[in-house]
């Protein structure tokens, strides 16, 4: 058997992850063609590469189907209850930086902070007869953040992509999404609330607390951790 390492299956996140491991003497790559989701590992014995969607890696870790996985802190915190009990943060990889934020239209000159958002939401509900809509895919994180900060009279609407466009399309009044430079937000005439930063996320190597290991696998894990300089 072998230690299973889950890595995002495409794009910059995959390439940067490969770079990070290569710099530490572990060469990861796709087996066969670019379209095939099988991986190969060189430079260490007993490690198997599993290419997965970044969004599925938290679940695979918590189910113990992979021993290690690279994904964003945002996804782990959104998808796993008591995430610290299910996975261990081994290393922040220094890329894939993104902030989970709340943004509203720039035209809302009266709204600068969460306090304002709460007051605007109350007025919006009175005026329109429904609760102010915030588009997001981070339902749990946003709900907890707004509860902690005492914001009421809002509702979350699900948006799995192009979230910044929902305000213009009038399917939401505000958005809660990840951003790295804020460019897309500005292009869509949105501004970040001054206290609207919920979480700073980056690509992180996690270890599953649930994945079983035999003696052989434990030895491989120890060797891998040493090779990566994380011991």
């Amino acid at each position: 058997m072998s230690i299973k390492l889950g890595v995002p299956s495409k794009g910059r996140l995959m390439e940067k992850t490969f770079d990070w491991f290569r710099a530490r003497g572990v060469v990861l790559g796709r087996a066969g063609s670019d379209r095939e989701y099988a991986g190969k590992v060189e430079g260490i014995e007993g490690v198997e590469l599993v290419l997965l969607s970044a969004g599925e890696i938290p679940r695979e870790l918590t189910e113990g189907r992979i021993h290690l996985g690279v994904t964003g802190t945002d996804l782990v915190r959104e998808k796993l209850g008591h995430w610290e009990q299910r996975v261990e943060e081994m290393a922040e990889l220094g890329f894939g930086h993104a902030d989970l934020i709340i943004a509203v239209p720039q035209a809302w000159v009266d709204v600068d902070c969460l306090d304002d958002l709460d007051a605007a939401a109350a007025a919006f509900r009175r005026h329109h007869g429904f609760r102010l809509r915030i588009a997001t895919k981070y339902h749990r994180l946003v709900r907890e953040f707004l509860k902690e900060n005492g914001v009421a009279d809002y509702q979350l609407v699900d948006s799995q992509g192009a979230t910044e466009g929902t305000v213009k399309n009038e399917t939401a009044e505000a958005v809660a999404d990840i951003t790295s430079t804020g460019e897309t937000l500005r292009a869509n005439h949105l501004k970040i609330l001054s206290d609207g930063l919920m979480l700073k996320s980056q690509a992180t190597l996690f270890r599953s607390r649930a994945a079983a290991m035999d003696d052989e696998e434990r030895a491989v894990m120890t060797a891998l951790v040493a090779r990566l300089g994380l011991d």
Binding site: G81, H82, P105, Q106, A107, W108, V109, D110, D112, C113, D115, D118, A119, A120, A122, A123, F124, H127, H128, R131, L132, H139, R140, R143, E144, L146, K147, N149, G150, A152, D153, Y154, Q155, L156, V167, K168, E170, A172, E173, N188, H189, S194
Partner: protein, 369 residues
């Protein structure tokens, strides 16, 4: 959990017996659907309910929730068709999402007793409390009572703008937010820079960018006007803030609490009526043979997690076991009947009070042989 999980059959038998007890007190047994329309619950509680209730959906009815309690469906049923006065009892499963503590049950039986009767609210409060108390008496639980109505009366009586009162009201059940608002209205914190800039600008919309989304420029302008009016409102006197803080600190046995609240009412006459309601309730509870001298009262009790209660509140817990959920809870929810009565053409609502017991806890704690 420290105790073994009780057998379901035993819990059901206990639930049936508790319900029979309430039936003997004249309550009509009622049923409620397990699946409730999510929109009614979301309108009442906002998104927070999603952290407590399981949501499911189908393509025809849209979002449904597994009932997190019976109060909402029972009030809906009563407002739609109930003759008054009325008293109801029920026994059935409720479902609660647990995101923090896996050891807590996410599905358990609840037995409840509800009185819809405006003739003598103090007597109704006392009767619900006494019946729940006698049902759990063998367990030697610690009872705590409270009354959200006193804080509400204090807010109502503040000498400030209606807008500020409405904002405080809206956050009665969010203590941190309530406090922050109160301190801001008292002028304890400097006005944030962004707010100052906005209110002193000759053209607040100069860098506003295009108008997008459903919240119109008129709505933004209206809020700026409201902010200007608020900036011109004199601060709430520090003495009033201190009186509200004093109310929230009251934590005593009932007779001493009453004495403290009467002292506060000398400086804050707005709470006098609410305090006298508390006095009448105390006498009514004593008339049931309950020792009110030993009964705990906390003015802030139930403020964080019992949000539809707006008057009397109570809970029975196992002393020294904060890990265990309360065995029984209850309270008065007059405002809820007004909110849910609106859809039935009865916006005036009806004074209502009720309580629930968890038979699973009763069995687990050995109160059912």
């Amino acid at each position: 959990m420290a105790n073994r999980t009780p057998e379901k059959a035993q819990v059901k038998a206990c639930a049936a017996a508790l319900r029979e007890g309430f039936e003997a007190a004249g309550a009509v047994p009622v049923e409620a659907p397990v699946l409730l329309s999510a929109s009614a619950l979301l309108d009442l509680y906002g998104e927070d309910i999603r952290a407590r209730a399981y949501t499911t959906s189908d393509i025809l009815r849209g979002e449904q929730m597994l009932r997190p309690d019976f109060t909402v469906p029972v009030v809906q049923m009563h407002m739609a068709q109930g003759a008054e006065p009325a008293r109801y009892t029920y026994a059935g499963e409720v479902f609660r999402r647990q995101e923090e503590d896996e050891a807590r049950a996410n599905e358990y039986l609840q037995v409840g007793f509800e009185i819809f009767d405006g003739t003598d609210p103090a007597a109704a409060d006392a009767e619900v409390f006494a019946r729940v108390q006698s049902a759990v008496a063998p367990l030697n639980l610690k009872a705590t009572t409270g009354d959200i109505g006193i804080l509400m009366a204090a807010v109502e009586g503040l000498e400030t703008s209606e807008a500020r009162k409405a904002a405080l009201w809206r956050h009665i059940w969010r203590p941190a937010r309530f406090r922050a608002l109160l301190e801001r209205y008292a002028g304890r914190h400097p006005v944030p820079v962004a707010r100052k800039v906005l209110l002193t600008s000759d053209d607040p919309f100069r860098n506003a960018g295009p108008e997008i989304g459903m919240r119109s420029r008129d709505e933004v302008a209206a809020r700026i006007e409201a902010l200007r009016a608020d900036a011109a409102t004199p601060p709430i006197p520090n003495s009033d803030v201190m009186l509200i803080e004093a109310i929230l600190k009251v934590r005593e046995t009932l007779p001493f609490a009453l004495e403290q609240l009467r002292d506060i009412a000398v400086d804050m006459p707005a709470i006098l009526q609410a305090v006298e309601r508390l006095a009448r309730r105390m006498d009514a509870i004593a008339a049931h043979g309950i020792d009110v001298q030993a009964l705990e009262f906390e003015a802030a009790f139930g403020r964080t997690h019992m949000e539809y209660y707006d008057g009397f509140v109570f809970g029975f817990v196992v002393e020294g076991r904060p890990d265990l959920p309360p065995v029984a809870t209850g309270g008065r929810y007059d405002a809820l009947t007004r909110v849910l009565g609106r859809a039935e053409g009865r916006p005036e609502g009806i004074p209502a009070v009720g309580g629930v017991i968890r038979p699973g806890m009763v069995v687990e704690l050995g109160g059912w042989a």
